[in-house]
């Protein structure tokens, strides 16, 4: 392709030079890009403009949006603390539609199936494009080239970075909070829509021009602890409902019963044991998917047997992790997202269950972050290729599947392990080349499949540690061959010429392009 609109980045991927009218920097390589200049800053506010009694309440969300100056082309941010139970984002765009506002940019920290509702606003021009994640029906809509602008996919850390660096300017942030006071202090610890923490909204509260806090549990000042400082907040709104408690609890937080996945999880835990990763004072992060949860349970077994204590566990908290904390197997939970009510309760009651944000855990443009301190992280992937590159955002048929989440940020951990099945219903997971590049292979250390474990040759130290352990070691090439032997050689995917979204790396550079599905 010799098109001046695109440039080949350091990963060999063609990426656009402009995205939604803004110039871009292409991916330069891991830890290669060093930005200069200063951070972005919002306008200086003055207490003169706010009620001196601290009561910033307005009667409705519509009123708050109007007072915030909602108009064409603005960027509106929301957050996914309520996951599939979010009732707020849809209402915001109902208001925008009612007011006849057009061409908005929606900047959620993640989207969920409940946001399928917004397709009509993407169709009628209320929303111009989404910068966040495009899952399920929204992913399908985007992949088929129906969204007006280009989607922008960022990691949780990358979202903080983009806001902080001014890559994206938030006009209005709407923060849904389990509890808040009229001044705007807020947390997610109690109330009918308790979600644990509000870390994903932290950047928005600091940098947005206007900040609205919406709650269905307005308490008298002070609402403590203030996960969100009222001093950043313009308006507060009391609403009947902001979240559906049943849907706020994530459906994925149950340990898998699938024998194949349990097998994979056990093998992963065994690998960590043999590699000497599970030792006193170690730290780990494991996702909320069924397999990852099962890995945690196998960790528990090993830690109990060998009387090992972890210094901290990072990541989404849930019943299982909380019980490890309470059993004394883990000293601290550094929680980035609370997946169930046990997690919420523990965070409320236990000072060792600490809430974190993408700023503390993941932001690449800061004076370090927590991600690199974690000894081992267990993540998923839809595809992994012969260079250990991995994909988490698209299906092998090119359709957008889900967002990046904290996945890219976690790659900075000391050991990155991806337990994946060799194939899923005839779709090979180990591919010659990933459809979309989300994680550079040099950062991915171990791929565990039910048919063998491949260690990245860059990690000779790990190879040496598990040599002779009886673990089923193989190479990524062998796994690839085995996958193609079982599934057949996949036909090469032909995508359209039009980009529908871009994937950003943690430093804001363009890692890859998602193309229209033919």
């Amino acid at each position: 392709m010799n098109n001046p609109d695109y440039i080949k980045n350091a990963a060999g991927r063609m990426v656009p030079v402009m995205v939604n009218g803004k110039p871009q920097v292409e991916f330069k390589g891991v830890n290669k890009y060093r930005p200069d200049g200063n951070k972005y800053a919002p306008p200086i506010p003055s207490s003169n403009n706010y009620p001196s009694d601290g009561d910033k309440r307005v009667p409705s969300l519509k009123e708050a949006l109007k007072k915030s100056g909602l108009k064409n082309g603005m960027c509106i941010s929301t957050h996914h603390h309520f996951r599939n139970g979010d009732l707020l984002a849809n209402q915001i765009f109902d208001v925008a539609h009612e007011l006849g506002v057009k061409d908005l940019v929606w900047f959620p920290s993640a989207s969920f199936p409940c946001h399928e509702y917004l397709i009509k606003y993407l169709e009628d021009g209320t929303i111009h494009h989404i910068e966040g994640s495009m899952n399920g029906p929204l992913g399908r809509f985007t992949s088929e080239g129906k969204m007006k602008g280009l989607g922008v996919l960022r990691s949780h850390g990358g979202r903080y970075q983009a806001v902080q660096d001014g890559d994206i300017h938030i006009d209005i942030a709407v923060i849904g909070a389990g509890s808040a006071d009229p001044f705007g202090n807020a947390n997610g610890l109690s109330g009918p829509s308790a979600s644990g923490l509000l870390g994903f909204a932290f950047a928005d509260s600091q940098y947005a021009d206007r900040v609205i806090v919406a709650t269905d549990n307005m308490v008298d000042f002070p609402c403590i602890p203030w996960q969100i400082h009222g001093n950043y907040v313009d308006f507060t709104v009391e609403m009947d409902r902001i979240g559906d408690p049943e849907q706020i609890i994530s459906g994925t937080t149950r340990i898998t019963r699938s024998p194949d996945r349990l097998f994979l999880a056990e093998l992963t835990a065994r690998f960590c044991e043999e590699a000497g990763i599970i030792k006193d004072g170690f730290s780990f992060q494991s996702g909320a998917g069924g397999t990852s949860l099962a890995v945690g349970e196998y960790f528990r077994k090993i830690m109990r047997e060998k009387q090992i204590k972890a210094r901290f566990a990072r990541g989404g908290s849930n019943t299982y992790l909380v019980s490890m904390l309470e059993e004394g197997l883990v000293e601290f939970i550094l929680d980035g997202q609370t997946f169930d009510l046990e997690g919420v309760r523990s965070m409320r009651e236990n000072p060792s269950h600490v809430w974190t944000s993408p700023f503390t855990s993941y932001n690449h443009h800061s004076k370090g972050n927590f991600a690199g301190m974690v000894d081992v992280v267990i993540l998923g992937a839809t595809e992994i290729d012969l260079d250990f590159n991995a994909n988490v955002v698209t299906h092998s048929d090119g359709y957008l599947l889900h967002g990046v989440g904290g996945w890219q940020n976690c790659l900075f951990s000391k050991t990155v392990i991806l337990p994946v099945p060799l194939f899923r219903d005839r779709i090979p997971v180990i591919r010659e080349k990933v459809t979309t590049l989300c994680g550079p292979g040099e950062m991915i250390d171990v791929v565990v499949t039910e048919r063998g474990i491949a260690i990245n040759p860059l990690r000779k130290d790990l190879l040496d540690k598990v040599k002779g352990s009886g673990l089923p070691l193989t190479s990524i090439e062998e796994l690839w061959k085995e996958a193609e032997k079982i599934c057949g050689k996949p036909e090469s995917l032909e995508h359209g010429d039009k980009p529908v979204a871009v994937v950003k790396w943690v430093d804001g550079t363009l890692l890859d392009t998602v193309w229209e599905v033919k």
Binding site: S396, D397, C487, G488, E491
Partner: protein, 400 residues
């Protein structure tokens, strides 16, 4: 409307399978309506497969509908063939996928502690079965397959035997109860299975009939047999059945059917089947074959399973059926010799070898006399431990 035949499954939680419907037409060629989860990756190859198969079957004109949820090619081929079969048209099978000769052949004396049952008409469960490392896998054509889909299962199992790698597990097929089960052999035996399970055996003549049928289909190959006793009559004739064929390598007991035949409830304690199990073990030992216990049906109850295996092992059983992969490691572990057993066995074998070197006929260990069968059993314990990687092959020189 022309003649219509269909096979396979689609929708709901079905994965790795497909539904195929074929309607014969008088003209218009082969028209395919394909909806597949993997269209982007395998659509062309699926379309090609359909055209080749219709060519082979001599069907020039048909409307074909395929609803595919990620079926592998051998599954697609099996479903297409099963749909054709239902058209009532005779056909010749050619170009079967895979080659069963690629898989290692089994041997008579290998351990059969764990054998995983796989319903013969459920392709999804077959693909990863070998990953869980059972000693054997049983592709079942009998109780787990509904009457209406016996043909479909037979075709699917045939294809699976040719192509699915079970990673060294012994490849077993449970045929239907005789005499119907003899027809299964026509399709199965050419795929070189290692072992045939014959259900609900009550008469040694049934074993002989299977032997003869196999000989007729494939005169050169050895196929092992494992009769299953599932009735009072079967138990009464246990020894005759166990010794009915030199190809018998093991015999199993099926307690669900046995309990029903006795008119009693199957219990956790198993008092109602104690006689049957004892008698069966005895018959097996008398015939020099392995005795295999019934399956444990409460998949979630690991404690109950463990207790049952302990009892089985103590009674002389040498294996159990598994209905879920999670049961495999538990059964495997329980049949693995314990460290006490291994240490005692090592001491016995060493004492025997030492005595032999010194030309002594009588061996003793401590205050106990050691007879040749004791040595034989000790040697077997060690062989077992070596095979299960709990003892090194060089255990005599290596200090473990």
């Amino acid at each position: 409307m022309g003649k219509t035949g269909s096979a396979g499954n689609h929708g709901g939680r079905i994965r790795s399978d497909c539904f195929v419907q074929i309607e014969i037409k008088n003209s218009g060629g082969v028209v395919l309506d394909l909806q597949s989860r993997v269209d982007a990756l395998y659509g062309k190859s699926i379309r090609k497969l359909v055209l080749i198969m219709m060519g082979n079957f001599g069907i020039p004109n048909a409307e074909i509908l395929i609803r595919d949820s990620g079926a592998l090619e051998f599954v697609l081929a099996a479903r297409i063939e099963a749909a054709v079969k239902k058209l009532g048209k005779s056909y010749i099978v050619s170009d079967l996928p895979g080659d069963p000769a690629e898989f290692p052949v089994s041997d008579r004396g290998r351990f059969r502690f764990t054998r995983l049952y796989l319903p013969g008409n459920s392709p999804g469960m077959m693909l990863n079965a070998g990953v869980h490392k059972p000693d054997g896998i049983i592709l079942d054509l009998e109780d787990s397959v509904a009457l209406a889909v016996k043909d479909d299962a037979r075709i699917l199992v045939r294809n699976a035997l040719r192509i699915v790698d079970f990673y060294g597990a012994e490849r077993m097929v449970r045929i239907n109860q005789l005499p119907g089960g003899l027809a299964d052999l026509d399709v199965i035996i050419p795929q070189k299975p290692d072992l045939i399970l014959i259900p609900k055996v009550e008469d040694p003549e049934e074993i002989k009939a299977v032997d003869e049928k196999i000989l007729e289909i494939s005169p050169d190959s050895t196929v092992f047999l494992m009769p299953i006793l599932e009735s009072a009559m079967g138990i009464e004739r246990a020894f005759e059945i166990a010794s009915a064929s030199p190809n018998n390598v093991a015999m199993a007991i099926g307690l669900e059917d046995y309990s029903a035949d006795m008119g009693v409830q199957r219990t956790e304690a198993g008092a109602e089947s104690l006689y049957a199990r004892s008698r069966m073990v005895n018959a097996c030992k008398a015939s020099g074959i392995q005795a295999i216990d019934s399956v444990y049906s409460d998949v979630d109850n690991e404690t109950g399973l463990r207790a049952t295996v302990k009892k089985s092992k103590a009674m002389g059983f040498e294996g159990m059926g598994c209905i879920h992969p999670r049961q495999i490691p538990v059964i495997q572990e329980e049949f693995t010799p314990t460290s006490d057993e291994i240490e005692r066995a090592k001491a016995i074998v060493l004492a025997f070898e030492e005595a032999e070197q010194r030309g002594q006929a009588v061996v003793s260990l401590g205050s106990k006399m050691i007879d040749p069968p004791v040595v034989k059993r000790a040697q077997r314990t060690i062989d077992l431990a070596i095979q299960m990687h709990v003892v090194s092959e060089n255990w005599r020189t290596k200090n473990e």
